[in-house]
């Protein structure tokens, strides 16, 4: 079950789960993914929990999660160890400086892309803007921000839904 994929495992996960093993069909996969995205935690790990649990309960979930994490974490530590041994090299330092600048951009780009697709309401923009400002710029502790913003966002959305 150890799945590998560059730049995120989702496309691979879909291929193995839907096309090769037929554990789920496309519609079920999309539905479960949407479900996992509402929940906290890594989406792919959550997906593994459910796919494992469907076939073998708690044991299956544990095996699936270990499978999806062990190989990548092991590989990552190998890469990191290698990196640590060459980190003093100026060329490597410059390369990783370039890559980390780009990695920051990739995350900002991901957020923009999500924003374009989601077309949030004014309420949503306010909540998202507040999250960005408090956590990103003001560096307030995330737990407090979440504890306030999540209920506020849900209540605002509930009232808007009821008004319709």
């Amino acid at each position: 079950m150890g799945l590998l994929g560059f730049g995120g495992v989702l496309p691979w996960a879909r291929r193995v789960i839907v096309d090769e093993r037929r554990w789920l069909d496309d519609r079920e996969f999309a539905e479960l993914l949407g479900f996992c995205q509402v929940l906290p935690g890594p989406n792919v790990v959550n997906l593994a929990v459910i796919v494992g649990a469907r076939t073998h309960g708690v044991t299956g979930a544990l095996i699936a999660v270990s499978g999806i994490l062990l190989v990548p974490v092991g590989l990552l530590l190998l890469i990191a160890t290698f990196y640590a041994s060459v980190a003093s090299d100026v060329l490597v330092q410059n390369a990783i400086a370039g890559a980390s600048a780009a990695a920051a951009g990739l995350i900002i780009g991901t957020a923009l892309r999500l924003l374009i697709h989601a077309r949030p309401s004014a309420r949503g923009l306010l909540v998202g803007g507040a999250a960005f400002l408090t956590v990103g710029v003001l560096k307030w502790p995330l737990l407090w921000v979440i504890a306030v913003l999540v209920p506020v966002a849900i209540i605002a959305e509930w009232r808007a839904a009821s008004a319709r």
């Binding site: 459910i50 980390s100 600048a101 780009g109 957020a111 849900i154």
Partner: protein, 183 residues
Amino acid sequence: MAGGERTMSTAEIMVEIAVRFAALSFVAIGGINAIAPEVHRVVVDVEGWMTSAEFAELFALAQLAPGPNAMYVALVGWKVTGVIGALVATIAVCGPSSIVCYAAWQSMDRLRESRLRAVIQRALAPLAIGLILATGYTLARGADRSLGALALTVLATATLAFTRVNPVWVLLVAAVIGAAGFA
């Protein structure tokens, strides 16, 4: 503990990592990338275990490696206390959310048709986007120490937002540009 005179023992650090990351696991709405500003706040600003630039480097390294891109958390643990730290951090950040996921899945059939679920989904999506944007901003503050680096960040942002180029190519090209001395 923060800013204390004495240094923490390895065991104390691991307990600190386990407790902090496990708490974050419950609120990682929008995935593990969304909690990066908080991880950064703890390991850079509060504990001083690494610099902001080092944090950005670990994050980039995790993005380059195959596997769930949330794995920067393992690298943060690794940087602080080695391989055991990496395992502790990974389990702490994935464990609680997995339990929540399992419990939620058990009651999914009831949730499937519920109006509350749709409302929660619509309410949390913008929040997650705001947090991911905060992550990008935090990383950029750590990584952009020159105009060249800033330009790379802007280019990578535009590439990801408006094209379908595989992000790994963006990272590799940026690494080559960086190696050539432009970042």
